[in-house]
């Protein structure tokens, strides 16, 4: 019994201690001129969909949930956003060459077609990010057109 108390005490101490570690927050409020929405003519409804379903992890501005204030959740999210931005960053869209834009568009289309994006671990808590079949089709069509215009 005593051992359990000691272990729990240590765990509690650690849990409190890690709350004091800061994380990098992905919150740039200036939209760079290279942003996907500024370089391309994107219909408003598609803009809204992309912002709700993709921009949290694939742009320089994450709309953080309240639980991001708690460690280790904040670390977990930081890692996710970093990884997401390394794969595709809509804020830096125009810095990609045409070849890479085509590649990225192709991946976007494939990921949505195969239902791999948005991630289930994300939509579990962000119900508004779920793409209906209709939404998915609209986005895929738009991305396909954009891809063809870059050939």
């Amino acid at each position: 019994m005593k051992v359990i108390k000691i272990i729990a005490g240590i765990a509690l101490f650690l849990f409190v201690a890690i709350q004091f570690f800061p994380t990098d927050r992905n919150e740039s409020y200036t939209v760079p001129p290279s942003d996907f929405m500024l370089v391309n003519t994107v219909p408003i409804d598609i803009q809204k969909r992309l912002k709700a379903s993709c921009y949290d992890c694939h742009s320089n501005l994450t709309a953080y949930p309240w639980y991001n204030k708690v460690q280790p959740i904040a670390w977990f999210l930081e890692d996710h956003v970093k990884e997401g931005k390394a794969e595709l960053n809509f804020s830096e869209w125009d810095t990609y060459s045409d070849r890479r834009k085509r590649s990225k568009l192709r991946s976007i289309i494939k990921q949505i077609e195969n239902d791999e994006m948005p991630l289930i671990s994300y939509t579990y808590l962000h119900r508004e990010a779920i793409l209906s079949e209709e939404d998915a089709n609209i986005i895929i069509n738009f991305m396909n057109q954009l891809k063809d215009s870059l050939q």
Partner: protein, 195 residues
Amino acid sequence: MKTIKRSIGSVALAATLMLTVSCKDASKTEATTTSESTTENTVASQESVATSDKQDAKAEVILKDYFNLKDALVGDDGEKAKEFGATLTNSLKAFEVSNYSADEQTELKEIIEDATEHAEHIAESDIKHQREHFKTLSKDITDMVAITGTKMTLYEQFCPMYDRGSAWLSTKEEIRNPYHGSAMLKCGSVQRTIN
């Protein structure tokens, strides 16, 4: 007392969770260091090739790795494809553009950058994804060869069945389909001979 125990339990759970996360990070860094050391090895072996040949030996190494990857996909072997994806990533990163004209350099840099990303993904995906990436990778490699040239005779082959038509390169004239593997091994035709 019971509630205290319970809350202590949940705190302990949170702590373990945190520890697992940090352990995961540690193994990640380890993985990167090993891949770095392999990069050095490949670069070293490529340099010895470069001095013995006047043609772009680094492009030839990229092609060799690409064909190994293609053969793994033909054989439906996702694990091997992962390995060759990693090797190809390294040989792409070792590519030197300095011997080319300014225009060619820009083009080559873009090609290499794109191809590297696809090779990296192939190194860590299942075979379905590997084949998706292989399609764009093949386009990149074909465009690269158009600039660098090669000593080998290559065949650009095309299968209309995969993803609204997909091409790849091969050193042999007979068709061995990397997109379908054993399911449709001979689907496709030679579109063009290079050299």
